[in-house]
Amino acid sequence: MRRAEILCAAALLLVAAVALREALRLSIGWGDIGPRGGFFPFWLGVILAGSSLFTLIQGLRQPRTPQPFLRQEALRPVLTVLLPIAGAVLLIEVVGFYLTALLYLLGYMRWTGRHTWTTTLLIGLLFPVIIFFVFERWFLVPLPKGLLEAYHPF
């Protein structure tokens, strides 16, 4: 936990540094119409840097704790949720929303949930169809079709 705390604060410090550099490039002074573009981001960068520095120092001064950021046995369940999400995001980019929904539901229900093929297929097919009618037809929200845009039947 302590190491995660320190790493996170250091990462935020880095974000602050990037923001400060960009703010200085935009100039933080007084222009023709009041403060220039970098003025507001600059002070935010200062605040972020100050507060993360505080957290960082506090973390460093803290004694080592036995409690880890992620318990050994919790790693697996988190990854079984996280990796499919990441996969689905990638798939949406490539094959669009509808096919992703089908594949994601099929895969996740079948392998993590151990549901029967009947349930899996039923929900996997029904869900995208309902989504299509509710979003694309009823609320006129177009969903991503990926590289298959031209091949979509609708």
Partner: protein, 504 residues
Amino acid sequence: MEALANLLHGFTLAISPYNLFIALLGVVLGVVIGVLPGLGGTSGVAILLPLTFVMPPASAIVFLSCIYWGALFGGAITSILFSIPGEPWSVATMFDGHPLAKQGRAGTALAAAFIPGFFAAMISVLLFTFFAPPLAEIALRFGPPENFAVLLLAFSTFAGLGRGSPAKTLASAAIGFLLASVGLDIVTGRPRMTFGSITMLSGFSFITASIGLFGIGEILASSEEALEFKGVQGKVRIRDIWEVLRALGRNAVTFVTGTLLGFWIGVMPGTGATPASFMSYGIAKQYSKHPEKFGTGVVEGVIATESAAHAAGIGALLPMITLGIPGSPTAAVILGGLYIWGLQPGPALFLEQKDFVWGLIASMYIGNVIGVLLCLFLVPVFALILKVPAPILTPMIVLFSAIGAYAVNNTTLDVWLLLVFGLVGYVFKKLDYPLAPLVVAMVLGDITEEALRQSLILSDGSLLIFFTRPIAAGFMVTSLVLFFLPALLPLLARIRGRVAPQKA
């Protein structure tokens, strides 16, 4: 009574078949969101926000606010029957609600959540109806310095009243503001913080951020513990309703305190229903004749938390509609919706968008009536949602989140950002960085910067302008006191501690 005439007009709008249907749909979806532990009111409202793009603004606000009312009711169902909070604001409801349910009095516990919640909401809407117009009238006279001071107050309450490290609260808000500043400079229109990238010109959307931080982050965090929904069956019978009404009479003080406290906490920018329910529970316990029974299943424990939570939900919309400042994270997302619908939140709404404002207020009455009736009679149906196994629910919530994020700008970039924000949300949640300031800062970033820069233009660069104008000065002093409260309290305690031994 101009307010009454306006309210009547609002009712005629709200009971049009289309708006009634929208309200019903919103409440049902809200209850579902409330019941599901992995899906909170804030991310739920954000996910469904794109659905409002095709609605007229007056219906869109009814839809979103009704989701909020529904979620307030729904959270209690999961807490009481399953001992898992459906929403953060129903954690305290669990303390006494679940023991009651285990004693076979689930119906009483549920009724004790819904009925006081409903009455508290009604009292709060009444307060809202008569407080909002005068408050807006005062706010109309605000200039940029006053606006900035009020905005600062919103963020100071986060740091001052929020639990956890003020440094982390500050960092979280600063990140939100920085993300909001990416894109075009609001005053000069020049690109900034985009690092030469064209995709970053449009900036970051608060919708993607709130779905990622609250939605995906929550899914990841809760995946660590394999949740098992072993619940108690519960149904509200007419007998339970009578019992609760009588209990309400006996505990009128607890109920009224909870309602007024909740409303006040809700109005305070940036806090909302969650701290309100905890505080109300604490007070009810402290002033009870039998505090030792709290936690074992006393009806007044549920009455205290639920009345405060519902009152706070309504209260949170008061500063949103009158000042353009959200009273809670969920209200922040609704406020962001106003910008998307092309409305300028703030006091001018009361003059220029009367239909919008009074339609919203009327729908608060209607939405809560729908909510309480649905919940009282359909609890078993809503509890069924939790019978759906996690392997089916998780992908569905993720897919809905992806739709919500994508629909903002119709780019898959937002879906990737969703993943990034989800990871950030997970890490932040584990390290106790509060997420609400980040989202609120993203929504309010542009108007805060504008108010600050305009004030400085007015004063030729002097910060004194915030202290020489009386209203602004009042807000500034209050926010400074609130901000340094966490630092001041231990100091005060130490001084008192030092004085006490000397006396002895």
